[in-house]
């Protein structure tokens, strides 16, 4: 226990505390303001009340926007998972001509064509298709954007499924569709669940696409509506914003914890785009 060692240990803990504070302090607001009788932008021990929750629940658009978010994100997540599952199985098992070039192209697409780089043509395209102000249109755009990465992650899962399962099922005379439904699908379930949650979480937090494409307030998902909460005076409505932020974050955190505890957090490069 030399003095230098002690100093280093102290320095080490000070560093860890500083980093922890850096990450924790900005989050304190969402933990205190929703329960405070006079919510502001400051952080302090709240003057406990649930009045803000009552106000938020009775806000004309707040809960409605959660349903919009749910509609958009469930559609997106289901479409992404279903189409990526089909595509990744085909790419994993069948030697389609040009497969490697296709995979390489998908990989490039997933990072090159970002929402910001494509927002103008997507806006113009949806405008000309008459899909502005359509929740289905938003889900379509999000599905297209998430699919390349989803196919990649899922293909990895499918590659890891031993082919011997399918072989023995075949030996016993199962048809192709039976094999897919009764052998491959159950084995690939962790992968499918991961993609479902990943697509849901990504579209839940997506601000840009619905911000560009949705006009009317009653069709806006929570991510966009949160930006527009104002009170009678036109300034930010601070009794609704903190509560709504909290409620809007819960699904994401819960889903993350669920996947983490059931399947373990597998690290996927570029899983969050």
């Amino acid at each position: 226990m030399t003095p230098a060692y002690v100093v280093r240990r102290i320095g080490f803990y000070v560093l860890i505390c500083a980093i922890t504070l850096f990450f924790a302090v900005p989050m304190l607001w969402i933990a205190s303001a929703p329960f405070d009788a006079s919510p502001g932008l400051g952080v302090g021990w709240p003057d406990w009340t649930l009045e803000n929750f009552r106000k938020t629940l009775s806000h004309p658009y707040a809960m409605h926007s959660m349903i919009n978010s749910l509609l958009i994100c469930v559609t997106t997540a289901v479409a992404v998972t279903a189409f990526a599952a089909l595509a990744s199985y085909a790419l994993s098992r069948v030697r389609i001509p040009g497969r490697d070039a296709l995979l390489y192209g998908l990989l490039l697409l997933s990072s090159v064509v970002t929402g910001t780089a494509a927002m103008v043509p997507i806006f113009v395209m949806m405008f000309q298709l008459g899909l502005i102000d359509s929740r289905f249109g938003v889900a379509l755009v999000m599905t297209g954007g998430l699919l390349p990465a989803a196919i990649f992650i899922l293909k990895d899962f499918v590659d890891a499924v031993p082919k011997s399962y399918e072989e023995s099922a075949r030996v016993f005379g199962a048809s192709t569709l039976q094999i897919l439904r009764d052998v491959v699908l159950p084995v690939a379930r962790p992968g499918l669940a991961t993609i479902l949650v990943w697509a849901f979480v990504n579209s839940w937090g997506n601000f840009l696409v619905p911000f560009l494409l949705i006009r009317s307030i009653d069709k806006q998902p929570g991510a966009v509506l949160l930006q527009t909460f104002t009170d009678e005076g036109g300034s930010a409505n601070l009794s609704v914003i903190p509560v709504f932020s909290l409620l809007f974050s819960i699904p994401v955190v819960v889903l993350y914890l669920l996947v983490n505890s059931r399947y373990g957090f597998r690290f996927h490069g570029g899983i969050k785009s």
Binding site: W29, V94, T116, M119
Partner: protein, 307 residues
């Protein structure tokens, strides 16, 4: 990581034994399986990317005569960009943003976390990593409010901590705020990537470095860094690409005050939907696409070389 984002290694066809296609799907049905995904990707990703080129050479506008009948103006939009001071400003701010928050902020903080948490007690490790991950998974609109509250002029937490009530951080120092914000937001990715990379450093080498009395810095430079050099490069490329394309600065400052935090994505939005100049903003989008493509090609080349 290399296994999930790297190009799939081609498995050599086995001479005997069952074919790869064990379930007997066949090429035709396989193409059918691929079709819906490829159609959607084609319609909502490939087509917009290509269409950017076309819109970028027209004078298409959101409203007015050019909205109804746009005409081709050739490379006029690109020559305009060359002389557009606001576009140069956006490029410069994006470079600052990427350098400060991704290349320096997320990279160094992510590595520091991965390095220190390696030997921390499990409870400490879980708490710290949990917080860092939470910052990463919360919806961006919510995170924007957290930081608006944090930086607020009158009652913001930062001013309470520093005792500087009345300082409007988001107005006086918008880029510093955005860099801090994005470092906070995105460090989780680098932390996780470096955590898994550090597992590849043989403990015996760390032990020998300690035996010969190498300082912490020497150990990092001569023992750890050679093992993770490839990861540092690929991580830096990825987070730079994401940061350069990040739209969340819009949620905090909308590009203001007076264009002082208008990064390229925010500039594209402002030109296209506030200014209505769809043609010009498409030309800028196309430049962003090209920059993304170059970074992504470099990234894939590095990954392939590593495997």
């Amino acid at each position: 990581m290399a296994t999930t984002t790297g190009p799939a290694p081609v498995q050599p066809a086995r001479v005997r034994g069952p074919a790869q296609d064990v379930a007997g799907l066949g090429v035709t049905r396989a193409v059918g399986f691929l079709a819906p995904a490829l159609l959607l990707i084609g319609a909502f990703l490939v087509f917009p990317a290509i269409w950017t080129i076309y819109i970028g050479i027209t004078n298409y506008r959101l409203t007015g005569v050019e909205a109804v009948s746009p005409s081709i103006v050739g490379l006029a939009n690109y020559t305009k960009a060359l002389n557009d001071a606001l576009f140069h400003n956006a490029l410069w701010l994006t470079m600052l943003f990427v350098l400060g928050s991704a290349i320096i902020g997320q990279n160094i903080l992510g590595f520091a976390l991965a390095w220190t948490m390696r030997r921390a007690r499990p409870a400490v490790r879980r708490t710290v990593e949990g917080l860092v991950l939470l910052a990463w998974i919360l919806p961006s609109t919510v995170v924007a409010y957290l930081w608006i509250a944090f930086f607020d002029r009158d009652t913001g937490t930062l001013n309470s901590i520093l005792g500087t009530q009345g300082t409007a951080w988001l107005i006086d120092y918008p880029m510093v705020c955005l860099i801090l914000f994005n470092t906070w937001r995105g460090t989780a990715f680098s932390m996780m990537l470096y955590s898994s990379a550090l597992q590849a450093v043989p403990p015996s080498q760390l032990e020998s470095a300690r035996m010969v009395g190498a300082s912490g810095w020497q150990t990092l430079r001569d023992v750890v860094f050679p093992h993770i050099r490839g990861h540092v490069l690929t991580n830096t490329l990825l987070i730079s690409l994401w940061t350069a394309n990040d739209f969340s600065p819009f949620l905090l400052t909308k590009g203001g005050p007076n264009h002082e935090s208008e990064t390229v994505p925010v500039y594209i939005y402002n030109v296209a939907l506030q200014g209505g100049e769809l043609g010009y903003s498409s030309a800028i989008s196309f430049l962003l696409l090209i920059a993304n493509l170059l970074v992504a090609l470099l990234y894939l080349r590095l990954l392939r070389r590593r495997s």
